[in-house]
Amino acid sequence: MAEDLKYAVEMRGVTKRFGDVLANDSISLAVESGSIHAIIGENGAGKSTAMNILYGFYAADSGEILIDGQARSIQNPGDAIRLGLGMVHQHFMLVEPLTVTENIILGSEPGSSFAIDFKQARARVRELSEQYGLRIDADARIEDLSVGQQQRVEILKTLYRGAQILILDEPTAVLTPQEVVEMFAILRSLRDRGKTIIIITHKLAEVLALSDRITVMRDGRVVGNISTREATAEGLARLMVGREVLLRVEKTDAHPKDAILVVNNLSLESSTVHGSLNDVSLEVRAGEILGIAGVEGNGQTELIEIIAGLRPQTRGEILLEGKSIDRLDPRRRKNLGIAHIPEDRHRRGLLLDFDLAANSILGVHRNSPLSGAVLLNEQIIAERANRLVREYDVRPPNIALPARALSGGNQQKLIVAREFDINPKLILVSQPTRGVDIGAIEFIHKKLIELRDAGAAILLVSAELDEILSLSDRVLVMYEGRVVGEVDPRSVSEEEIGLMMTGGKR
């Protein structure tokens, strides 16, 4: 009995089925009280489903959940909150124009039924913020806060509601390297004050640095339960993917040739610093990968979208193989050989309700032989889609499925397949591996290197510094819409580039 009591959360034989898919197959895990417990696995491994069951979003088909040693029925998030659970989602659930305090008390406002006791609420928010070192101004508006601060507001919200067990879904996905360090310190301090923390992630380095214990999931099952002290990155990757995985990018030196893309003095005026570009010039040559490092929101999105033709620049010119493409729409640019892997595949890259075949022609759907004068050529589209799905290992390989049914990694592979199939001269790549599982990351990196070696010019933007440094042949650093310097990815230290990314050194 005493053994049992030290577990804050236990799930025993929890099974959940969505239609034909077994999302959780009799999973069992135990989270020690006062520890940081990581749940890792590729996309679609079932980790989010398990946590959503724990938090009451989904009802399990079978199995039981114990909180502090007691079997509990959690029917909805309200039950979960009453039992001391708190969840911080990957996408924040905050009302932007409201203040921190207003957001935190939303749904559990103190005071009488007619008036809200703001004074009491504010005092409590301040107290909690200080107690756990969150450093949040209770009166700041959410829209004025950085992403890292917003995340801390989410944590504060769970604490305000009395959470003893915090579940964080991919908490570092949106943070800069500096913010990650800060976040880890906060999580450790929460643990040291007796809170239990469950984090869902797929980043191995973070898991190893932060957690006490690790549960590995694959295909809806728990495939490993390891103490972090005994874990290695290679071992975890093998468990997650089910085979040996290459964690490092293997590539030879680049042999760049003629300049494919030349950008001269590109500027974009915007009402905010975020989203403006100031006199950006760069050149990408055939056979090289030019990486752009920078904290998200410093103009990288705008730069890529302007080159792709999705938004107009205020000043400056863009040349492809020496010819101006400023006046061309996105389709004409694509036909000239500009492929684009957009940063947000749900917003830009895919039509989630269209099937894979329909998604495989987006952007080239007017080209012969995919369509004739009037009709789409369904047979040729299907043949091509089947070939792409096979060559790029998109799973499940059923072109009649809606894109929505695929995991993030497979959705990305579909986009990569579509874009690379046009034999691009220039590839604009934005966050190519965001929310993508290890197996697919390895695959996409390998493809990028292949295309580079075949003579494509590649412009790469990523929030993952590791990715930029390991893939790129040259790296530019952007800060507040400017290029603040160029570094050699082979010799630069993470501290040095981190400082440039935050405007510390020009």
Partner: protein, 361 residues
């Protein structure tokens, strides 16, 4: 086929549930639900007359249901089908009224049909352009265009094209019976169409060629939306404008095109009423076809086959209205309107059911 059945399950359930609730209402009012159900089925489907009228009432709803569906597939909510069909119907009659005497009736009829389609398309295209150019919301602008259409058309009918002394607000006729033959621009009734095939369809029924146009429109809309590259682009814009833009698809052009197509379909109601039935423009001829079209599209899941089935149901309800009113003691014809409302309510509930079923798997 299996997919189609799965798609149809929910609307079908909604209809059945609505009939049950409608029965309860009849019972509360103090009449026999079975009698009302019986009246509904026999009046709408129990005789050639019944079927003929059901199809006739369904015809404008097929057009407006398709109109709403096409706009919806592009992510647009066309609430202005009513104004579009009113403007189009007047234009249809107007061509018949101003065409020179000597022109052959068939040519004038073709021009009148063209006018219906073009005017409907333009009337809806204007909100499309306003949306594409200035971001003016189509719900607001199409409603405003409804009032503008009604105003202009009533004015023209009242002061320019009405027969002197006619107490009814209607234009002069464009076709009239002369020596037992309908002379002037019109389209044939089903009686005349089926006679060469040896089928004796009653002459008194107003069902006409426009019904076949409506069936053809269903097929064409299907092919357009799902088989052509333009349909692909239109649906892409409707599902995710950002992704469509990324794919080199013009949001503005598709917005205008979808609205114009929607209006053209709505405008074809004018062909049914003016060229196939009344042979004049009668102000107030539309029993809210444009608005019922929204319900038809909703029930039919914005799919041409669904729209066709939903329009037939609503046509049947319209046909049975009078019979239920007359042959029951306490139930008035408003029961049909209540039933329509309940159907829509249940269909609209679908999102709630979907969410629940997702939670429990």
């Amino acid at each position: 086929m299996k997919k189609l059945l799965r798609e149809l399950t929910f609307p079908l359930l909604a209809v059945v549930a609505a009939f049950l609730v409608g029965g309860v209402i009849v019972w509360i009012v103090g009449d026999s639900p079975l009698l009302v159900y019986n009246l509904f089925f026999t009046s709408a489907f129990g005789s050639v007359d019944g079927i003929g009228y059901t199809l006739f009432y369904a015809t404008p709803l097929i057009f407006t249901g398709l109109a709403v569906a096409v706009a919806f597939k592009c992510g647009l909510f066309n609430i202005g089908a009513e104004g579009q069909l009113v403007a189009a119907a007047f234009a249809t009659a107007w061509v018949g009224l101003v065409a020179p005497e000597g022109w052959p009736a068939i040519l004038v009829a073709l021009l009148a049909m063209l006018a219906a389609v073009v005017v409907g398309g333009v009337w809806a295209g204007i909100p499309g352009v306003l949306k594409a150019r200035f971001g003016a919301h189509e719900v607001i602008t199409t409603i405003m265009m409804n009032f503008i259409a009604a105003g202009i058309v009533s004015y023209l009918t009242q002061y320019h094209y009405r027969k002197q002394g006619d107490p009814i607000l209607e234009t002069l006729p464009i076709a009239e019976m002369k020596d037992g033959v309908l002379t002037g621009p019109h389209i044939p009734r089903m009686h005349d169409l089926l006679a060469p095939l040896g089928i004796n369809f009653p002459e008194r029924l107003p069902l006409n060629l426009a019904f076949l146009f409506a069936l053809a429109a269903c097929a064409l809309v299907y092919v357009f939306l799902w088989k052509t590259k333009w349909g692909y682009e239109l649906r892409a814009v409707g599902l995710n404008p950002s992704a469509a833009e990324y794919g080199g698809i013009s949001i503005a052009r598709n917005t205008v095109m979808a609205m114009a197509l929607s209006g053209m379909l709505a405008g074809m109601v004018g062909i049914n009423d003016v060229l196939g039935y009344r042979y004049r423009y009668y102000d107030g001829f539309s029993a809210g076809y444009g608005f019922t079209g929204i319900a038809v599209a909703l029930l039919g899941r914005n799919h041409p086959v669904g729209v066709l089935l939903a329009a037939l149901l609503f046509g049947a309800l319209a046909r049975s209205q009078l019979f239920i009113d007359i042959f029951t003691n306490k139930v008035s014809k408003d029961w049909v309107v209540i039933l329509q409302a309940i159907i829509i309510l249940f269909v609209a509930c679908e999102a709630v059911f979907r969410m629940k079923s997702k939670r429990s798997g």
